[in-house]
Amino acid sequence: MLRALKSFGAFWYDFVIGDDWHVAAIVVVALGLTALLTHAAHVNAWWLVPLAAFAALAWSLYRATSGRS
């Protein structure tokens, strides 16, 4: 049972998160910051998520091609 749960979790981790969990972490943090800026500081931070996505992708690509991932 535990083994089945582990492989189920591993499948979904690989399915959504994939090769580099840093990308997922950056996207989640960016969305959290966007919500904070929008609701608490009343800043319409529409630019934050795209910038974070591009930065996460660049960093992940750099890590992948330099052998650091």
Binding site: L31, T34, A35, T38, W46, L57, L61, A64, S69
Partner: protein, 258 residues
Amino acid sequence: MTALPLILTVFVACAVEAIEALTIVLAAGLTRQWRSTFQGMAAALVVLAAVVGVLGPTITLLPLGTLRLVVGALLAIFGLQWLRKAILRASGHKALHDEASAYLREVAAAKAAPEVRKGRVSDWYAFTLSFKGVLLEGLEVVFIVITFGDNQRDLGAAVIGAAIAVVVVTVTGIAVRAPLAKVPENALKFAVGIMLTSFGTFWGAEGAGVTWPGGDAALLVIVPVVAVVSLAYVFWILRYRPPASLGQQAPTPEGVTN
């Protein structure tokens, strides 16, 4: 957003997955036996239909803001992973996905496996190979259909896009009785990565509370910007570490096909 862009996006994304499933089904059917292969395929389709039937309407019950935040985050993460692989492939840092060689690998494994009967299934290997292939690729189709369909409150249009993709790929596969190696699958995956990332970014930020300049029309800017930045990254990586030969497997940390 009207139904047409939704149908087209889901169609392309699902066609890519259907091509990969077809390769596995053909390897099982042509090498082993069709009866067990079809049984495995049918069992997987029943499971997938149950997942759509349960998850589709359930997710719709979430408030739109929460739905867009959660689904947007998932789509952006999922899309960035596709895009990452596509950029690494396009720049030669990762082997190109090749249906012909994937087919040959599956055929070799299928020929080596012994024939075992279990209950009504006369060839358990063909059944499980077909079941796993259709289920795993199908789950990606289900994920795309549910996220796009529910977010646009138009699950029907998303299902239509996916169904057309599956029918087109299946009919073509039956006609040629070979893996669809001539389909520009790597280019399609690049395009799908761009679409998933764009929609995920748009919906995720909207779910977090922002108002996009121009409303839904912002997508008409986001998609080309994501495409241009992604292509720029391809050229950046090419300059950063030129591969030995484009399109060939390069001796890099990510030279494994998946």
